[in-house]
Symmetry: C2
Subunit: 185 residues, 2 copies
Amino acid sequence: MKNTKKEILNVAEKLILSKGYNGFSYNDISAEIGIKKASIHYHFATKPELASAVVKRYLRLFKFWCLIKEPLSSKEKIRAFGMMYKDLSDNCHKICPVSMLSAEYPTLAIHLKNDIKKLISEVENWLSRVLEQGINDDIFRKDLSPTIISKIIYCSLSNAISMYRIFGNLPEIELMTEQILNMIC
Amino acid sequence: MKNTKKEILNVAEKLILSKGYNGFSYNDISAEIGIKKASIHYHFATKPELASAVVKRYLRLFKFWCLIKEPLSSKEKIRAFGMMYKDLSDNCHKICPVSMLSAEYPTLAIHLKNDIKKLISEVENWLSRVLEQGINDDIFRKDLSPTIISKIIYCSLSNAISMYRIFGNLPEIELMTEQILNMIC
DNA sequence: GTCTATACGCTGATAGAC
DNA sequence: GTCTATCAGCGTATAGAC
């Protein structure tokens, strides 16, 4: 069934987002969805292939997300970007896939590395364009560097949900987003 | 000899900072310093114990660093904080220990978890105090929240060196630090 | 303190029956 | 498509000789 493949993908995503690529095994997936290890290999021959499918789905999802948010103003786009991380962390202990996989980067297979690079570039380019637009529209401060500020926003939000989940209480993503908007307007 | 213990600690630190806790093994250390796996266990009985020693040394080092930087102004302290990450990433492919270990957090032993919590709190409290002082001294903007801004600075810088090492060229930590100072002044 | 030898569980992966 | 059975390799860790 096609549902099994999707189910494996969903569990793999959850495991990468909580324990990391080197922290989860085919056995974990097996235990969670009640299918034998060997059967997982039928759907995804290797572990890098499985992780790659997870990252590629994220890339498609982000592109779709951008389309949906296109009508918003520059300011609202930044706010929506923050909400994306809020949702991720609310969904119980998940952290940003990019933050996780870039930490483990040197240990990953080459194809997986390339997928991650692509995802990071995509997100950062979107943020840069939004900032540039906002600056041109006199919504954001003129003395900002879109490329540098996009790094600050991207890095701070994606790292926050990983660093503050460990204290049990959810990170204050909305407050961070508002302070960022406060600083760049 | 006491030198062997220190050497193990140094290599373990380097490996955690490049490949993560779950990404390195006693064999890696063995290969690098020419000592057998079993001998490492003599100095550090378990892997969590070894990692814990690395984190505890970071805590001591940071406390010492704070003393050294105490005479600086609030603004210079933030600048020095940025330089700390610059040095880390220059030192070839290293990333922030806190960023790495908080990503892998759910897979770690309980004692190691507590050590990491302590280190994060220590850094964040220092940043908060510096920001508060700067606000009181009319150096930083009055409408900032020291606790939230400290999270933004901490998270963005520590994540930047992990996310941008993967593109080969070093992350522009100084530019990020200057843009941050620009925004909070 | 360092070595050799070894234990043993878990890893990702394969072969072949059903 | 899913199963059982099995594999080689590596992981951390221990015992005991030197």
